[in-house]
């Protein structure tokens, strides 16, 4: 073997193992993040964390119950806005529209999807905070809902399109009208995909902080109804993390652990639903 060939083989082996190292570093980041959160936050996640209001500075204990409930309310609103628009919009794109309209809608959705979350926050502020002159749960839910629309729309459309055409033709050959075909044949056969899409969109906005900073604002106490500022888990983590108090840092870690746990579980479940056999073959 000539020296040159040996050198080339050495370079090949070296560079290829370096790519392995890169992959190992990237994947280990996930486990590092998880273990840090468990290490720092694990001891603070307790019953009181889920059931108590935040304690005043200097007082140990206290929880994040208001932030957890606040997040749930915000996410409920977001789902009510994001899922219907995304779902029915996707049905229009996949089943009804001509190519020009579809292009425009798809383009708008992709554009919306690329908008930084902080800009969505400004948008919600000008639309849902300024006219009413106060921060509210509604404004925060609106911001998150806007973020959910494009994610739901695009992936739902993908899954609807992957339903084979013979199914449509079969239903219509039996005399079903188009909307009946959609409602009884197409959507049911793509439901796993659609469910996955919705869950992933939900998980994505569940951790969003920036759009809530000046829409839902934050609250140290319970927020009754929908018209007042409300605490939320991500914003509470942010506020606690940048505060100078040791107790609050512990709460931030615990909140982070709960939030990340929730998001990872939803992600894994969503991917599991899809992997357990989607009823239509995807090409």
């Amino acid at each position: 073997m000539s020296a040159r060939l040996r050198w080339r083989k050495f370079v090949s082996a070296f560079m290829l193992s370096m790519t392995g190292v890169c992959a190992a570093v990237a994947v280990s980041a996930l486990f590092l993040i998880l273990s840090y959160l468990v290490y720092h936050g694990g001891t603070s996640v307790s019953w009181t964390f889920f059931t108590r209001l935040p304690a005043p500075v200097g007082e140990a204990g206290g929880g994040m119950s208001n932030a957890i409930v606040g997040s749930a309310k915000l996410l409920l609103l977001a789902t009510l806005i994001g899922v219907p628009i995304g779902f029915f919009g996707a049905i229009y794109l996949a089943e009804f529209s001509g190519s020009t309209t579809a292009f425009v809608v798809r383009y708008a959705a992709d554009l919306l999807n690329g908008v930084p979350s902080i800009v969505i926050g400004i948008f919600a502020y000008t639309l849902a905070v300024l006219p009413f002159k106060h921060f509210s749960t509604l404004a925060g839910g609106f911001a998150l809902g806007v973020m959910m629309i494009p994610i739901t729309l695009r992936s739902t459309e993908e899954f609807l399109r992957s339903v084979p055409n013979p199914l449509r033709e079969g239903a219509m050959a039996l005399g079903a009208s188009k909307w009946k075909t959609i409602a009884t044949v197409i959507v049911p056969s793509a439901y796993r995909g659609i469910l996955t899409a919705v869950l992933l969109a939900f998980a994505r906005v569940a951790g969003e902080t920036a759009p809530l900073l000046f829409t839902a604002l934050g609250n140290r106490f319970w927020s009754p109804g929908w018209n007042q500022p409300t605490a939320s888990l991500p914003v509470a983590i942010y506020n606690y993390a940048i505060s100078p108090y040791e107790d609050w840092h512990r709460q931030a870690w615990a909140g982070g652990l709960v939030l990340l746990g929730l998001i990872l579980v939803i992600n894994i479940v969503a991917r599991g639903i899809l992997a357990r056999g989607i009823s239509v073959s995807r090409t």
Binding site: V11, S12, L16, T19, G20, V21, C22, A23, V25, V27, L30, I33, Y36, I85, G89, I91, Y92, F96, S97, T101, A108, D110, L111, L112, G114, P116, S117, I118, V119, I122, F123, Y125, T126, L127, V146, I149, L153, R161, E169, M172, A173, G175, S177, W179, K180, I182, R204, G207, E208, T209, A210, L213, P234, Y238, A241, W253, I263, N267, I268, R271
Partner: protein
């Protein structure tokens, strides 16, 4: 019932050629209208977003004009607003992030697409997807409590000791600053680079590799000189996509950048970025001009990401079409 159906080419839907009235009676036209309204609302929302950003930033556009982008004084007390420090901060942190993330992400993508057996590759990709799902505020949390102390006590003193003669690494080591923000951003965008690049690399036709290997190249040479150049456009697209993410990334950057509107050649200096100044000051902004200046910054950010996302998508589409167009069996 006479229904003659024709199939639109490709995967398109089946279109009935029944009369409008019969379709109306069966509810098709109503369903069409309702779903159309939902689809149209997406377009409407997007227009509204652009309109609100434009309308919301009228005042600073008229007051400062283009000097908004050229002046570096940000003084809410005297109503002087210049965007330069924030644009600078955004660009510098994103550049640092790309410098760290591109080699790492590309390397990992090559491993996943070229070397790893499919099962291992899929498993690792699953973890990468989960990493992409970690919210920004969690990165910020780890940034504040883990990365910043590490930077202050270990990395930055070392950099100063060995590379301190460069203007890049002058000044005291605060921990907070451009460098730290860039590193945290890098960790956040690596998953995007890996996922998209892997897809693109996997779409490179097999015969390209086989031809290179048959001519006697080593595994690495076939990868680096044949496969990667073939996928170049798509990889560049993935980098643009990641860059767009990095530019708009808010929480993690806000928590570790130091929130000081200064332009400094040193990466160790604290700074501020467009997204982070909006996040940290919008709520407290008093006065029309102050708020509207922040909204104009949002508009700038929006336009930047818009352009980058458009370019990225174009490159990815072109490259993957080229891959499948050349006889992918």
């Amino acid at each position: 019932m006479a229904t003659t159906t024709t199939t639109v080419s490709g995967a398109g839907p089946v279109v009935g050629s029944r009369s409008f009235l019969s379709r109306l009676r069966e509810g098709d036209e109503i369903a069409r209208l309702i779903t159309f309204l939902f689809a149209a609302s997406v377009v409407l929302l997007t227009f509204l977003l652009v309109f609100e950003l434009w309308r919301g930033s009228v005042l600073p556009r008229h007051t400062f004009g283009f000097s908004f982008f050229r002046t570096s004084i940000w003084d809410p007390v005297f109503d002087q607003f210049g965007a330069l420090p924030f644009i600078y901060g955004t660009l510098v942190t994103s550049a640092v992030a790309l410098l760290v993330a591109v080699p790492l992400g590309l390397g990992a993508a090559i491993f996943l697409a070229e070397l790893a057996p499919l099962r291992l590759s899929d498993t690792l990709e699953f973890f990468i997807d989960l990493l992409a799902a970690v919210p920004s505020v969690i990165y910020g949390l780890l940034g504040i409590f883990i990365v910043v102390p590490l930077m202050r006590q270990v990395v930055q003193p070392l950099l100063k000791q060995y590379l301190g003669f460069l203007p890049l690494f002058k000044g005291p080591a605060f921990g907070l600053g451009f460098l730290t923000a860039g590193v945290v951003l890098a960790i956040m965008i690596i998953p995007y680079i890996i996922s998209v690049s892997r897809e693109i690399l996997l779409s490179v036709p097999r015969d390209q590799r086989e031809a290179a290997l048959a001519l006697g190249s080593t595994r690495w040479e076939s990868t680096w000189k044949i496969v990667v150049p073939f996928a170049r456009g798509g990889i560049l697209g993935s980098i643009f996509l990641a860059l767009a993410r990095a530019l708009g990334e808010t929480m993690a950057v806000t928590m570790v950048i130091g929130n000081t509107p200064v332009i400094s050649a040193s990466l160790l200096s604290p700074g501020d970025s467009i997204a982070s100044v909006i996040a940290s000051q919008f709520k407290e902004a008093t006065g029309e001009l102050y708020t509207q200046s922040l909204i104009e910054l949002g508009l700038v950010l929006f336009l930047l990401t818009l352009i980058l996302n458009g370019l990225a998508r174009l490159m990815i589409v072109i490259t993957s079409q080229r891959g499948s167009g050349m006889g992918h069996v």
